[in-house]
Symmetry: C2
Subunit: 347 residues, 2 copies
Amino acid sequence: MTDSQSSTTRPATISDVAREAGTGKTSVSRYLNGETHVLSVDLRQRIEAAIARLNYRPNQMARGLKRGRNRLLGMLAADLTNPYTVEVLQGVEAACHALGYMPLICHAANEVEMERRFLQLLTTYRVEGLIVNALGAEEDVLRPLRGAGIPAVLVDRTVEGFEADLIGLDNTDAIETALAHLVAQGFDAIHFVVQPFEHVSSRRVREAAFRAALAARGLAVPSTVVLDLNEPGAAAAALADVDARIDDAARRGVRAALFAANAPVALAIARHLRARFGAAWQQQAALLSIDDPEWAELIGITTIRQPTYEIGYKAVEFVHERIDGAAGDVRVAMLPGELIARASTAS
Amino acid sequence: MTDSQSSTTRPATISDVAREAGTGKTSVSRYLNGETHVLSVDLRQRIEAAIARLNYRPNQMARGLKRGRNRLLGMLAADLTNPYTVEVLQGVEAACHALGYMPLICHAANEVEMERRFLQLLTTYRVEGLIVNALGAEEDVLRPLRGAGIPAVLVDRTVEGFEADLIGLDNTDAIETALAHLVAQGFDAIHFVVQPFEHVSSRRVREAAFRAALAARGLAVPSTVVLDLNEPGAAAAALADVDARIDDAARRGVRAALFAANAPVALAIARHLRARFGAAWQQQAALLSIDDPEWAELIGITTIRQPTYEIGYKAVEFVHERIDGAAGDVRVAMLPGELIARASTAS
DNA sequence: CTGTTAGCGCCTTCAG
DNA sequence: CTGAAGGCGCTAACAG
């Protein structure tokens, strides 16, 4: 009984298996690649036994080197702290599983430098495709991909000057649905709150759609509140602005409604209002948010839930097709959101 | 001007660079590996230029194949939905960056099958080390690692029969601190709620520590409530049990305190109590939880915050040392938690 | 200082 | 049905 599994032994190679099975590497390779019908039963069994005995696992790296493809699929996430991202991730993982890819997840943690670095890495590891939830609009950060000829699909946001398939929420429709709900509930002082949006396409679209939807109804369009969560000072000012609008409405005897462009914004607002008004803050202002984080139900916030799983799944299908050589125009898939009405917007 | 960056061109190789620079592959390799002082200024510049011109990036796979190490570090996460995991991840990423590893993140999404599959994959990709936040206690799932001689470090939980470095929260101390807080606030009907814990060491330790801490104070030790979040039926029963205890205490004119073993449990409880008592549910029962998710502050829940970032960072340092050949006994690092007192446990 | 020569582990013609 | 030989992109002795 040889100690073939000792942790000091270096992993068995295909040659080891061949020797152990008393055959050549070619046959082992054939076995590994499922060309099992080309092998005599006897040989196949010997190989099987040898593999088991040596606890052999083919080295993917070597395989990739030879075949020119390694089944690695990169996923660059801007912010895993955002539940949205994790949910998308689940779809990505499921699709990777189904299509035989190994997802290589990289988390930029909201830092452009990280994003750049990971993109480099992903490139040097020769991932076959990439799913990008980009941080900034910097097209040059994505340039390496072009050079390496790695197909990419954008999730949630486009990147200025970077042509690629895009998949995300149908923002215009989502905003329209949400606004219709608010209006139906009788709100007329509705304020849009969003993180700095010039450089993030989805935020830009949402903001524009909100204004358009308001205008289409002949309602006044209050200025958009920009809430920069990365700048404490600016954030405080923005929240003060929110406060003012709430007070304004209150003076007119109405309850203001706040429309958060995404969950992080909604959380910041909720925290602030709770600090200001106490646990019963929702009596002072209504809140609606795009994204449906776990705490939304906990405190009864109306939301637009994104089809996150589908977004992730489809994203992988898109790159997969590109990897398989699909040429053709850039595709855009905009999936519909779903309104989850809760107490925060009850009239 | 050649179209060296066209997306149809296959990535440049070291040979291409050598040819372009009019030299041999060796020199290029030396350049890549920073042995820059061994090269004549002229040659170095030619290589530099060639690399830039061809937009060359060394193929990590090939490097890894040759050197026997690929700088890949696996991280197997049981549940990215749990904020704890994401926070640990941030520490892992930072440490990987600092030590020159590429983190390969795998998400088992609470499915043992996934866990097994990823472990296989990680093995075939020959990651140099692995950080495991294991799902179950199945030692055999981790067996492949042994066979491949891949060093691993466990995060948060041990695995029966699997010897490896461990890093996580000092559960005993955390429980003691939290309980002391509750007692100081005047609570005496304190109930521990935890997911099925036989197979998860951290839960087991917490449960035991809770009972011990209670007993040490001469207080009665109510039976532990087991809340299985994956079994709707069982979960409902457990929550009914919680209800009964709250009612019991109420009959005695006191407010029961619920001690959640982690954030998912706390969330389930909070949701349930809100559904039962409405927004003011906290007047009916106190709640304290280990883990400090973002919504804890939002609704004012007292928590024990884990040093998640440090846990992740140190985990990487641990494997790194093992990869570097450090032998020696299994190490255990238990980091202290921090009590964040909020309104939910005010007396 | 620089280039030549072997492989790393695997797959893929191409002959048996 | 089976095996030997060559090469994927890169590094690591060896020579110059």
